[in-house]
């Protein structure tokens, strides 16, 4: 049987999540808290109009991003979506990078070219952190990650890929073509559907007639599991199993994480379309951090002070990162001309651009600009 699926709660045997040593569980706590704290800081900066463009929250979904990405090794590659800042942090993206990105700074990871968390660091194992920046058109990262993992397979590298899609993105042709291709090629790829109930304003029953997204696994001939996305240990458990399968050459897995988007699609969206009480219900009963705190304090007997200390450290880290980001330079207009192609390394300013300092350009390019060099990794 190449396809199996499991319902919420019916875990097969001992949980790999439960079995994690306490210090690793505290790491999970750390990443979830950092995600939330950093997002809260971004909200503050957004309200101060220091964020350029929209702000996308993952409030209430931190377990899903963090727990899954935590199942990867450093050499593995992950491709996040807009609500996977937590996964990026786990993979080594820094608060400073994220803050600079959101503030469109000149020394941000994309130098002000791309939005919010659309950035990556991809390349050789050991030299790069192994995450790939998304683009906006939904579903496209699935074929691209099929290509990344195809390379692992062709080269016999012991690396696994993980790609997230939302419930909404499963409706795209790109998702379908990508997962089907990966399945046929038996690539070491884990595809995670974050079912958070909505795609923008569209509820899942307007997105698919399937009873559950994991039912798609059998149609692609891949392994499937569904899991409580707000239980960080269960998420880890489920993802780890899929990652292990991938690493063992057993091909693609399709995982469905059940969660809920507690904020609007972006900060401007007041969620008028959500049923009354739905958000409040999830916040009260099913906050992934609250749930995990209970596990840590009640079951694992972690003193509250230990968690408070982590929180305090994170608050400090985010403060410091904010200071760095706020002090960082804005992009220089002429930098817009650099790096569309490897050759020519830069465009010339259009003739009517009086004052454009053409001499600054020529065909020379600044170090690390424009072209990605595998031996150096992406510019930080």
């Amino acid at each position: 049987m190449s396809s199996r699926r499991r319902r919420l709660g019916e875990g097969p045997g001992a949980s790999l999540g439960e079995a994690l040593p306490l210090e690793r569980k505290l790491e999970l706590y750390h990443w979830m808290r950092l995600t939330r704290t950093l997002e809260e800081r971004l909200v503050a900066l957004y309200r101060q109009t220091k964020v350029v463009g929209g702000l996308f929250r993952s409030l209430g979904q931190e377990a899903d991003a963090v727990g899954s990405c935590y199942a990867l090794e450093a050499r593995d590659v992950m491709s996040p979506l807009i609500r996977n800042m937590g996964a990026m942090l786990v993979k080594g993206a820094t608060p400073v990078e994220i803050l600079k990105q959101y503030m469109a700074r000149g020394d941000s990871p994309t130098r002000g070219r791309e939005l919010n968390i659309h950035f990556g660091d991809l390349g050789e194992a050991g030299k790069t952190r192994g995450f790939l920046g998304q683009i906006s058109p939904l579903g496209d990262m699935v074929p691209v990650m099929a290509g990344v993992t195809l390379t692992f397979k062709m080269r016999g590298e012991d690396r696994v890929g993980l790609v997230y899609v939302g419930d909404g993105a499963t409706s795209t042709g790109a998702f379908h073509e990508g997962i089907n291709f990966a399945a046929v090629q038996k690539l070491p790829l884990v595809v995670i559907i974050e079912n958070n109930g909505y795609a923008y304003s569209t509820p899942t029953h307007k997105q698919t007639a399937a009873k559950q997204f994991v039912d798609k696994a059998i149609g692609y001939g891949v392994y499937g599991e569904q899991v409580d996305g707000n239980d960080v240990l269960a998420v880890y458990d489920c993802t780890k199993r899929a990652v292990d399968r991938a690493r063992a050459g057993e091909g693609v897995s399709l995982l469905e994480f059940m969660t809920f988007r507690r904020k609007g699609h972006a900060e401007h969206d007041n969620q008028s379309y959500v049923q009354p009480g739905e958000v409040e219900g999830w916040a009260a009963d099913n906050d992934p951090i609250d749930r995990f705190v209970r596990v840590l304090v009640d079951r694992e007997k972690v003193p509250q002070a230990t968690l408070d200390a982590i929180d305090a450290r994170i608050a400090q880290e985010v403060d410091a990162a904010t200071d760095v980001a706020e002090a960082s330079p804005l992009p220089q207009p002429l930098d817009a001309l650099v790096g569309v192609y490897a050759d020519p390394p830069s465009e010339r300013p259009l003739w009517y651009r009086e004052g454009a300092d053409v001499s600054a350009l020529g065909t020379e390019r600044a170090e690390g600009w424009g072209t990605w060099d595998a031996s150096k990794g992406a510019p930080r």
């Binding site: 070219r113 992009p331 009517y352 009086e354």
Partner: protein, 325 residues
């Protein structure tokens, strides 16, 4: 009549056409109860009910294809792309299926594909595009791109009534910044006719969409500071191009500047230049010049976006050079 915004004008057109013709229906992502990402369709589901306003899955191929099928059967679908950039996802369906249906199969495709387009809003590379050049190149499609609230309404009504597929680009920078008073009655602006946005005699600026307003500003400045009389032609329709208007202004001023927000290489300015060259060569006192975006995916940081996109000052600079030719 009160002033309404460009965005409201589009909504009014949709509303009036839905009231007029029961075959008109809307389909797109989040356009129903939510009213669309920019609220263009706000209130229309409440007014016309669910079957006539369809919230679709995230499936641009499907919604364009389904609209085509419905259009064959006599419906008049209006498809919303949440951002016009995602029209790229339906490129095959639009160019191979829809555009050719009448010619190869004698099947009409009376449908509109509309959506927020264009930059100047810090939208970054995938929420700022101007993909019109990729479509004026496709026989069988019509393309409109209004610059005023009046035209937004009148062209939308014409687009819905057109017997072929009309791509309707709405400039999101203009949505709430531009207002107008709608002419009374059934206000329909014919597809294929340009508009003289400003009369002039020394040189002509041919443009459309957001850069109409930049060009008008530039024209004002050129007049005030340099005494130049600049004619501004707002194309409004990009396919079919209004050759008569283009040639008339060329023959009048003998100097033409084409301005567009789209990237330069392969943008519409090339086509316009070629047509002018072919038809009005003897009337030209200077080369046709172009002010456009740089050939670059649009970056989102304000300083970068402003550098890449055409600005008023660029138009002034280019116009002065042209005037001095």
């Amino acid at each position: 009549m009160p002033e309404i915004t460009y965005l409201e004008a589009i909504r009014e057109a949709l509303d009036e056409e839905m009231a007029r013709d029961p075959n008109v229906f809307l389909i797109g992502e989040d356009i129903g109860a939510f009213g669309g990402a920019f609220k263009v369709t706000d209130g229309l589901m409440a007014k016309y009910g669910e079957p006539r306003v369809i919230d679709s899955p995230i499936s641009e191929i499907a919604i364009v294809g389904a609209a085509a099928g419905a259009a064959h059967m006599g419906m008049r679908p209006v498809v919303e792309m949440q951002f016009i950039d995602f029209m790229a996802n339906a490129y095959d369906m639009l160019t191979n299926y829809v555009a050719t249906a009448r010619y190869r199969a004698f099947l009409g495709c009376p449908m509109v594909v509309r959506g927020p387009s264009g930059g100047y809003v810090r939208g970054g590379p995938f929420h700022s595009q101007n993909p019109e050049a990729g479509f004026i190149h496709t026989p069988g499609l019509k393309v409109v791109y209004p610059a005023t609230a009046e035209d937004a309404k009148g062209l939308m009504k014409a687009a819905i009534r057109d017997d072929d597929c009309v791509l309707f680009f709405e400039h999101k920078y203009l949505y709430r910044r531009i207002k107008g008073v709608m002419p009374a009655g059934d206000h329909v602006v014919p597809i294929g006719k340009a508009r003289t946005a400003r009369e002039g005699t020394d040189l002509s600026i041919i443009t459309y969409a957001a850069t109409v307003h930049k060009s008008l500003e530039a024209a004002e400045q050129l007049h005030a500071e340099h005494g130049l009389s600049v004619e501004v032609i707002d194309l409004r329709t990009l396919a079919p191009l209004d050759d008569q208007a283009i040639f008339a202004t060329t023959r009048k001023t003998h100097r033409v500047l084409v301005v567009h927000e789209d990237t330069r290489t392969g943008g519409i300015a090339g086509e316009i230049t070629a047509r002018i060259s072919e038809t009005c060569f003897a009337h030209l006192d200077a080369p046709v010049l172009r002010v456009t975006a740089h050939d670059i995916p649009l970056p989102y940081a304000p300083a970068l976006e402003d550098f890449v996109l055409p600005q008023v000052q660029d138009i002034v600079t280019a116009a002065l050079r042209l005037a001095a030719w």
